[in-house]
Amino acid sequence: MSLKEVQNLVIIENTPLNATNFLIRLVSIKPLPKFVPGQFVNVEINNSSEIFLRRPFSVFEINYSLNSISLIVKILGRGSKKLTEIKAGESVNLIFPLGKGFTFPIPNERILLIGGGSGVGPMLFLAKESGLNPDNVHLILGAKSFEDHINIDDYRQFGNFYFTTEDGSLGERGFVTQHSVFQNKLKTFDKIYACGPDAMMKAIAREAKKSNIFCEVSLENLMACGFGVCLCCIEPTVRGNLCVCTEGPVFNINDLKWQI
């Protein structure tokens, strides 16, 4: 049995979620393998002389009965832009499942999930799959402004949501680490999970470390292959330079050599 697959999937939805992110939903003709939140797919973006390599995206949602995978894609450069322009009905080649996901919480733990930008995707996925009582699941989602936040109504049942915006247009004003929950209740959590921009994750890691709370973050290093053969995506860790694509993208902050 092959552990990893290279497959053409058909895009069935490619719609803007907000000012900066798109939701892309793809279906496979075959049953999908199990995905752990934090795992990713590597997407071939064809039809351009400028895009040579694949682009990695975390899985946001899996529907095992429809065999569908959803991604939240933020337009950053040429590849992500092209991807958001592909029309429903066209097919795209994906490699999956890739990487190691988040460590699941154990029953009755209180967890804090923090997502920024497209990093919100894996946090929602984790909230849904955590298996915890929703009372124990808390999410802080951060963005620049209210129009950069995505609609999470379908996820309210899985946890308690808090928002921050830099302009104060939704939730509390400031960064996720300035949110009152983060500021005042951090120590009430057993585990913190984060996915988002580098600076955000470092700020979170700093506080988690101070308070000595278990904390996992998802990294977005540049990748050439995505499945462990090129050694381009490395991150310095206590176990040496590790490949983010196979040993990550999720790392415990205690393993990272971040200067925080």
Binding site: V6, L222, A224, F227, C233, T246
Partner: protein, 303 residues
Amino acid sequence: MADLSVKIKDLDFKNPVMTASGTSGFAEELNDFYDVSKLGAVLLKGITLKNRDGNAYPRMAETASGMLNAVGLQNKGVDYFIQHIYPRIKDYDTHLIANVNGSTVEEYIEVTEKVNELERISAIELNISCPNVKEGGMLFGISCPGAEAVTREVRRVCTKTLIVKLSPNVTDITEIAKAVEGQGADSVSLVNTFLGMAIDAEKRIPLLSTITGGLSGPAIKPIALRMVWQAYHAVKIPIIGIGGIMNAADAIEFMLAGAAAVQVGTAIFKDPFIPLQIIDGIENYMKRHGLNSINDIVGKLAL
């Protein structure tokens, strides 16, 4: 049925399609996708005497029809390989070839002597062409005396088939090919990556931590093909063609130019199945053209 087997020195390969060093890990990663025993050979990730952390991140940059890498031979050293990796991979039913590196001739020799002992390693590919290390590597491969010295000394101790991997960053590839042939290389593989550079114009910084790195992918194919063709007319030992091979047509072009076998590198990052597709494509080509053996292709460019 078309016979795809090829012989290099005393080794029989099922087919002429190998995966290139540094682009196919230690074979295990590809085996997660398919049975690697279908491949002609797997060139293992470059190994050195001691642990090497490799270069700092970022290590890669995308370029037009290619990429730059600056991995810098990250590996845990030959002893770790022997103890922890070799036992896991030794039963794959394909040729496993060790890519041997060093900062000094002595290091090349030491690694070779250790690899000699590994029964299931079929051959050694002597990498004298890595552009991403400060010492050794490409420095040996860009001058005849350098290439000669390391080939001669390694040949003395090497009990296996010895392939020398050449750098394309030279004025005259035929000189280097002849130099290593003269010192007893059983085969030459070419090319390794071209020294290149990429810059972020907006941030005004290099895209690689090492400023320069190695260029691979289809962009380099025309130059690599020319070098294989030149080398074919300069040496008698078999040539393994490498550089931007993405499909069967590319592989056949290298073989027409004189390559007895090919290695697929960067293409694997696009799709790990490409090496298998190339094997099928070559078989199909042979059928269409009524060719019985790979020898009917190698060097058969009509001028």
